[in-house]
Amino acid sequence: MKQFDEILYKASLWRKENKSVALATVVTTWGSSPRPVGSQMAINEDLDILGSVSGGCIEGSVISEAQEIMKTGAPKLLKFGVSNSDAWEVGLTCGGKIEVFVEKIGDND
């Protein structure tokens, strides 16, 4: 069957292989942000990655958080933006702010 959401589909295939998978979703944006609300990125334990939550500015940081979340199962809301440079070493060069929700898929319930 044809799939209309490659990212979630791939995530479901990884889960069928019993891999740990995390899903990152853009939940809010302020100002200029490269990817709209709802944009997603799936990451598995082998660090296979599909999709994106920015133009490449924050993916590295999201992926390292995702690795931790795959282990603990506890979801996290990550905030990025120029004004948050104290909390996070990465920011959006475009001057926008975004929140990214990262959760583990499966076996945490």
């Binding site: 044809k2 995530a11 479901s12 889960r15 939940v27 809301l77 929700f101 583990k104 898929i105 499966g106």
Partner: protein, 233 residues
């Protein structure tokens, strides 16, 4: 996210159903919201999220000092192309990677087949027959590519009577003027006829079938984004 939740979201998307997933951003608790099934577990969220659900735009809402992300997955956008001509090949590919579900209508099986169009829905029927059961909604774009009034015109009639957010018709200015004259005879008003983008595509000086496909897809994307920004999704 539970595996089961992921599978429900995926199957809704593949069946062209709208699905709404509410996530509490602190605990990660998730509820699937169905507009038709209101119960105590989702009543409050449904009420708080009603306006963004109506707009079809995912957003965060506050309920009892908790933040919930309401993720609304609308059915995939669709492109219906009449005419399995050369331009339809790159257009089907570009539309697919742009997230559109593509259907090609052409009674000529020699042109319209899965060898020429791998993984694309093909209807080997006349457009008026094929479009009867095809619910052309406001998430559907219709493009005619044959130049042949026998095929194009009946598709345009169906498109003009529908909510299609985009209607495009390939052909030179001369071809398009002749088309307009035929549509007027068929009692379509000037305002209705103005919905048709013809000559089709954004003016990027396109020549090859691939370039023309890019110009058509650009115009579809442009029209879609303007439509969504106007808040009438």
């Amino acid at each position: 996210m539970k595996d089961n939740t992921l599978n429900l979201v995926l199957s809704a998307k593949n069946n062209r159903n709208t699905i709404i997933l509410a996530t509490e951003l602190d605990s990660g608790q998730q509820i699937i919201i169905n507009n038709n099934q209101v119960d105590n577990s989702n009543k409050e969220i449904l009420l708080a999220a009603q306006s963004i659900i109506n707009q079809g735009k995912s957003d965060v809402v506050n309920i009892d000092s908790k933040r919930w992300f309401i993720n609304i997955s609308l059915p995939p956008l669709r492109l219906v192309t009449v005419g399995a001509v050369h331009i339809a090949q790159p257009l089907a590919e570009i539309a697919t990677i742009s997230g559109y579900e593509v259907t090609i209508i052409d009674p000529r099986a020699a042109f319209a087949n899965n060898k020429r169009f791998p993984n694309i829905n093909i209807l080997n029927e006349w457009p008026e027959e094929a479009l009867i059961n095809f619910n052309i909604d406001n998430r559907t774009a219709v493009v005619t590519l044959t130049h042949d009034p026998k095929l194009d015109d009946s598709a345009l009639h169906a498109a003009l009577k529908s909510d299609a957010f985009y209607i495009g018709s390939l052909g030179s200015k001369i071809t398009h003027n002749a088309r307009i004259a035929r549509l007027k005879i068929a009692s379509f008003s000037d305002n209705e006829i103005k919905r048709i983008h013809g000559p089709v595509g954004l003016p990027i000086g396109a020549r090859s079938p691939q370039e023309i496909a890019i110009s058509i897809m650009s115009q579809i994307i442009f029209t879609r984004n303007n439509f969504e920004n106007s808040g009438t999704v």
